[in-house]
């Protein structure tokens, strides 16, 4: 009898205990789910943030914050340096919300993702769209600067300078843009090595081309390698050891042509490095500018600092 009573108590109480547990459980609502995703985003854990934003979209498809979740997915991909996925996420957002209030930001982000993918022409297309949609917003000035930067990355100096000069004069980006444009006008003045001269020098004396390009270790290696193989080759033929002479000639041809190629390549690398150093210098400088302007016929001394 006692056993039956115990069993009865167990069966009657168990559902109540379970229900009580359920009553104290936590329900995930829209806000909580978005907060969790934002938490991962702020921590820089973009991979998990995307999962949580997607979970948000799955559980709350009718939410008014769908656009926000899609935008944050795009930003997470962008911060995670996943350019292709960023572009897809932006396209997805624009497809679902063609009249989005953040269309400018979305297009801008897509443009930067294309720039990172080195698809500069596509990138410019998006930056131009940003400018067209809201020509008077600060983002339009930033888009203009990005257009100029794409030309800079393509080493189209003239176009880059022109685009930098198109930045709005009232923008905080203008002084630096003008500074870079002025620097680009003088880019032909930076020291360059002639690839042809390097090649000819290397052909006359192995290693001389590298010496001209200021690559002293490479110069000594090229000189020694070629010298030893030519010496061995001559000795082998003089001793009438034609087989050895033939093998050494085969290898020497490789070293000799490699030496010429290497010298020409070194000149190109030297030029590339100098150009890059110059561009880096331009990009680092130009934050501060001092000048005089005439506003309402009164001369004004101005000091601008871009940060």
């Amino acid at each position: 009898m006692a056993k039956i009573s115990l069993l009865a108590i167990f069966f009657f109480l168990t559902p109540k205990i379970l229900l009580a547990e359920e009553g104290h459980g936590r329900y995930i609502d829209e806000s909580l789910q978005m907060n969790l995703a934002d938490h991962f985003f702020k921590e820089g854990d973009y991979y998990r943030a995307i999962t949580e934003y997607k979970r948000f979209l799955f559980f709350f498809p009718q939410s008014t914050r769908t656009e926000e979740a899609l935008w944050k997915i795009g930003k997470s991909y962008f911060n995670g340096k996943k350019w292709e996925e960023t572009i897809s996420a932006c396209e997805d957002l624009l497809k679902k919300f063609p009249h989005s209030s953040i269309i400018n930001e979305v297009l801008f982000l897509e443009g930067v993702a294309f720039t990172e993918r080195k698809e500069y022409s596509q990138a410019r297309h998006f930056f131009h769209r940003v400018k067209e949609i809201s020509p008077h917003r600060p983002l339009a000035d930033e888009a203009q600067r990005q257009i100029a930067l794409t030309y800079l990355k393509e080493e189209k100096w003239k176009e880059a300078a022109e685009e930098f000069r198109k930045i709005n004069r009232n923008s905080r980006l203008y002084p630096k843009g003008e500074y870079i444009a002025q620097g680009l006008d003088r880019i032909h003045e930076i020291p360059q090595k002639s690839p042809a001269a390097a090649g000819i020098l290397a052909a006359i004396l192995p290693g001389a081309g590298h010496l001209y390009c200021e690559r002293y270790r490479d110069a000594s290696i090229a000189f020694l390698l070629n010298g030893i193989f030519i010496w061995g080759m001559v000795e082998a033929f003089e001793d009438k050891n034609y087989a050895l002479g033939g093998i050494l000639t085969f290898f020497e041809l490789g070293w000799y042509s490699g030496n010429i190629y290497s010298a020409v390549s070194s000149a190109h690398k030297y030029n590339r490095k100098k150009r890059q150093e110059y561009i880096d210098l331009l990009e680092r400088g130009g934050n501060l500018s001092l000048g005089i302007s005439l506003e309402e016929k009164k001369p004004i001394v101005f000091l601008k600092y871009a940060f």
């Binding site: 690839p195 690559r215 290696i221 190109h268």
Partner: protein, 140 residues
């Protein structure tokens, strides 16, 4: 009878062996920031190889399999010199590939002054791919 069934079960289970190692796959962090997997894809591997390219491929394959492990890893660059030669020959053909391979052996010591460091195969190496040496004539 029982032993026969056991043998059949074992034979059937044999092909499933690789699945048993599933748990040994190391945990991979999502979105590793710098790894060899993020480095540019090797070019030219999908092209149909000529006789010269196949010959060089076989010789380098032999070197990488039998000689390099004994000789030791001495190349400070990524891709290694033999791999670079293989990629150059695949991308630009037999002759140009050999010229570029000679260039790589000559320019290695000064190149490491400027080349970026990458962490691959458990060590830091100087990143000097084929594209770093053909950029001035191969604009593809």
């Amino acid at each position: 009878m029982l032993s026969k069934i056991m043998v059949i079960i074992l034979l059937l289970a044999f092909p499933m062996q690789p699945l048993a190692h599933g748990g040994e796959v190391p945990w991979e962090e999502p979105w590793k920031s710098a790894s060899a997997s993020q480095l540019p894809k090797k070019e030219g591997s999908e092209r149909e190889a000529s006789i010269g390219q196949r010959l060089v491929g076989s010789l380098i394959g032999f070197f990488q399999k039998y000689i390099s492990p004994v000789d030791g890893d001495r190349c400070p660059s990524y891709p290694t010199c033999s791999q670079y030669a293989l990629e150059a020959v695949r991308k630009h053909g037999f002759l140009m590939g050999l010229v570029m391979s000679s260039d790589r052996l000559i320019h290695e010591s000064d190149e490491i002054q400027d080349a970026p460091l990458v962490f691959v195969q458990g060590a830091y190496r100087y990143h000097d791919p084929v594209e770093n040496n053909d950029f001035w004539w191969d604009k593809k």
